[in-house]
């Protein structure tokens, strides 16, 4: 009975963490494309991105701890941090482990951003484009209920959300910085001011 609880806890926390992680990725993109509306100021994308990231880490922690504690998976602590070292579905769990390792790097670098500087922080942050898909794959492949409709729906929604966000990111074109040389040279019209 308690094993069932641990298994549900692991699955549940993992799923919530994935959903939150997906929201975090989308919010990060919202911030970069500078999305805003009368009810959604730009700073909200950044602050919510950070808050949900921390929350997702909490659920991730529960997911990992309960997974280790669950006798069914026979995951040791080592297998939780070293990829492909578990005896239970080593590939799929391993992908999750890599994802966690990358996330740990992103988390630490973000907490230390004032110390390490903007350039280093940004380099670490790019790892998120690796960490997220690995988390999705891990979610699809690790559980025995992977083919259950609800899991597939969740996975599909996460994929769709990020795919849409990425498309938006690409469509939004170059940031201000990318345009500066062009505008200074007078090539093409200078950006139309927001107010005449």
């Amino acid at each position: 009975m308690s094993d069932q609880i641990l298994w549900f806890a692991t699955r549940g926390a993992g799923t919530v963490s994935l959903l939150l992680f997906t929201a975090v990725v989308c919010l990060g993109i919202l911030a970069v494309v500078r999305w805003q509306s009368p009810s959604w100021p730009r700073f909200l994308s950044v602050e919510l991105h950070r808050s949900l990231a921390l929350l997702s880490v909490v659920f991730l922690g529960v997911h990992i701890v309960t997974a280790i504690a669950d006798p069914f998976t026979s995951l040791g602590v080592v297998a939780a941090v070293v990829p492909f070292a578990s005896s239970y579905r080593p590939l799929w769990v391993g992908l999750g482990v890599i994802s966690v390792d990358l996330l740990a790097a992103i988390l630490v670098s973000s907490l230390l951003r004032p110390r390490i500087g903007q350039a280093a922080w940004r380099a670490f942050h790019w790892l998120s484009y690796g960490a997220w898909p690995l988390a999705v794959l891990h979610g699809i492949g690790s559980g025995s209920d992977a083919s259950a409709p609800w899991m597939m729906t969740i996975a599909a929604s996460c994929l769709a959300a990020v795919a849409l966000s990425l498309t938006w990111r690409v469509a939004a074109g170059r940031s201000n910085r990318g345009e500066l040389s062009r505008v200074a040279a007078g090539a093409g019209a200078g950006r139309e001011p927001r107010r005449a």
Partner: protein
């Protein structure tokens, strides 16, 4: 008019062989002026420079002695001297002329500076377009390394500066020498704190160094003996918009009228004069005619001597169109690092051109005033401030013409093919 009866031409920096004979050789330089006095290249020269009141000739008119003292205090014997011969200001030619004709004066000045501030290296930074100046300095550096110099040589190398307006800005110069990127950096720290190789760096204009080389030999009193107004000494000016344009050495305090006479320009034929280059500003001829070209006095009247550009605008030229061309140039010369400068200057330039072409919208004048009012101090360097300063002076001097262009779409000084007001 007594001022016009005094000879305008001075012969201090430009004393020596005629311009036609090109770069002065080391032999001629030493024969004419002697070696630098023993122990001249040391901290003692700083007091002499301070006593002379020599102001920097790169555009800011900052006291040279004080600048050297600031670097000397921090250098710990590991500073660098950057000899600034980039001369990115298009209207100015005096630096390239001095470098081309009197390279050893410049190098003497650099040696003095190196000894005074405790530098272990001299970098000579010359604009790519100034080929005669570059060749002359290369040759001069070679001449010195071939002889047994006194004072002992300090490693000196020449770096070619890109042909950009901001390449001569002090942080841009340091950035280029250090990382081959001639774009200004965020200050603080300024070069005198952290420059080339992270060490204190003295960035000094070539003309300032030339004056220092003479002051070290002949003294502060000798230097101060020249001058017609508050600021003492001589300076090089670049005279354009006249019948006989060129670089001249004048006593500071010489009037604009005397220069017009020297270059050949009647008062009736000119409507205004640009003082200090694109980083300076316009003055209407009625106000400027009797103006003394004296950095301290000009600063007090909110004008600038700058890099010594004196450029007359013909009476039949359009001040608006001329300003529009300058603004377009300044926008294009932005280092393209800071949004306000890039977008602001480009918008101002485009709208000023629209006004110049007589195709302005109703609010265009208000627009450029607003944008210009917001721009000062919002870039990493002072490029937008300079451009906006020029625009402000244009709006003041050519105000009537701007209004005529903006509200009527007409020009009172049409160029070929245009309708008159």
């Amino acid at each position: 008019m007594p001022d016009l009866q005094r000879p305008v031409h001075q012969r201090r920096l430009l004393d020596g062989p005629p311009a036609l004979s090109g770069a002065e050789t080391l032999t001629s330089h030493v024969a004419r002026l002697g070696q630098l006095p023993p122990r001249a290249a040391s901290r003692e020269v700083i007091a002499t420079l301070e006593a002379s009141g020599l102001l920097g000739r790169g555009g800011a008119s900052f006291p040279v002695g004080r600048k050297w003292r600031t670097v000397a205090e921090r250098s710990g014997g590991r500073a660098t001297v950057l000899v600034n011969g980039a001369e990115g200001e298009p209207l100015s030619a005096k630096d390239r002329v001095l470098m081309a004709l009197r390279p050893h004066l410049v190098l003497d000045g650099a040696l003095l500076a190196a000894g005074a501030v405790g530098a272990e290296e001299i970098v000579v930074y010359v604009g790519a377009a100034h080929t005669a100046a570059r060749r002359s300095l290369e040759r001069a550096i070679g001449e010195r390394s071939a002889t047994a110099p006194s004072p002992p040589a300090i490693p000196t190398r020449l770096v070619v500066a890109p042909d950009r307006y901001v390449a001569g800005e002090e942080s841009a110069a340091v950035h280029f020498v250090t990382e081959a990127d001639a774009r200004p950096t965020v200050t603080p720290p300024r070069p005198f704190e952290r420059g080339i190789g992270g060490r204190p760096t003295l960035v000094q204009n070539v003309e300032s160094l030339g004056h220092a080389a003479l002051i070290a030999r002949f003294g502060a009193d000798w230097f101060r003996a020249a001058g017609r107004a508050e600021t003492r000494g001589t300076a090089l000016v670049t005279l354009t918009g006249v019948d006989r344009p060129g670089v001249h050495e004048i006593e500071l305090g010489t009037t604009v009228a005397a220069l017009a006479d020297l270059g050949g320009k009647a008062r009736a034929d000119t409507q205004g004069v640009l003082l200090g280059g694109y980083f300076g500003g316009w003055a209407a001829i009625d106000e400027a005619w009797d103006l003394a070209l004296d950095p301290i006095a000009l600063k007090a009247s909110r004008r600038a001597f700058g890099c010594g550009v004196v450029s007359f605008l013909a009476a039949d030229a359009c001040g608006v169109k001329t300003t529009a061309r300058i603004m377009d140039y300044m926008a294009g010369q932005s280092a393209a690092q800071c949004g306000p400068c890039v977008f602001g200057l480009r918008a101002i330039a485009d709208v000023t051109r629209r006004i110049g072409d007589g195709a302005a919208d109703t609010d265009d004048l208000a627009r450029i005033e607003r944008w210009a009012g917001q721009l000062a101090g919002r870039g990493a360097c002072r490029h937008p401030d300079g451009a906006v300063g020029l625009l402000a002076s244009a709006l003041s001097v050519f105000g009537e013409e701007f209004v005529r262009h903006a509200s009527l779409g007409r020009c009172s000084r049409p160029e070929f093919g245009e309708k008159a007001a």
